[in-house]
Symmetry: C2
Subunit: 151 residues, 2 copies
């Protein structure tokens, strides 16, 4: 186990497999990377305020998340870090990979001078809520979503 | 009343006054714009994925919010819009300005092709929660924050 690292284009099938993996492992070799995802990944790579991190276990990508660094006019003008799309491979959960991922994200946000790290978690995911609380996160807000289009 | 518009540098004192205004109006003329806020505003203006919107009532800025457009690898590769720092001047609340602000933000996100709009609201702000629900937002998530530094 190591710290998470920024994803490269070569990791894209593995990341898309993780995002499609709800309860069952998706084989990255089975993933066809569509043009929209190529463009989205290129956008993230080119944006100095967005990064996808992946966590390796040997030669297997076992987890991922995305960080967006948001400039703002509160908090003394400091950025805040938003964490989205946290995933650990279904067959590797409970092994401490999620903690490594989040600790890596927090360390990067801290090194960058962010005032805070924020994320939302589905209200039904009470296991995830205990996990975030154990990392020091306060469950202080409610998260609202308005869907504009379905993919 | 009109639709919200992107803030310019000239609006910065009014926006900072709104952000400092919890329950009592802060006079924009009393705001000294520090260098960190100048830099933060310049960062937002220069970033094609961030914008601050303001709402005018005559020659008074009565509300503001910030939108961050987040590229991602879910939702068919579409962006999502994050709304932060929603404020309506303390002496203008209840006049429909919040609704105009949020409807303006949603319209901009929709025109840009975002898959969804998301925001978080302090769990104690039950009045705000009813407001967001009335706009069609689902309170589906819990919002977690980890403070790294205080301003």
């Amino acid at each position: 186990m190591t710290a998470p690292r920024p994803a490269t284009r070569a990791d894209l099938p593995a990341v898309l497999a993780l995002l499609a993996d709800e309860e069952r492992v998706v084989d990255p070799a089975s993933v066809v990377v569509g043009a929209a995802y190529e463009r989205a990944f290129a956008s993230i790579e080119a944006d100095p305020r967005n990064e996808v991190l992946v966590l390796d276990d040997g030669d297997v990508v076992v987890g991922c998340l995305q960080i967006t660094y948001i400039p703002g006019l509160g908090k003394g003008g400091a950025e805040r870090a938003l964490v989205e799309a946290v995933r650990v491979r279904a067959d590797r959960r409970g092994g401490g990979f999620g903690r490594l991922l989040l600790e890596g994200a927090v360390a990067r946000a801290r090194a960058r001078g962010c005032a805070l790290v924020q994320l939302t978690s589905d209200k039904r995911r009470t296991d995830a809520h205990r996990f975030y609380a154990s990392l020091g996160f306060a469950r202080s807000h409610d998260g609202f979503k308005l869907t504009l289009q379905t993919s």
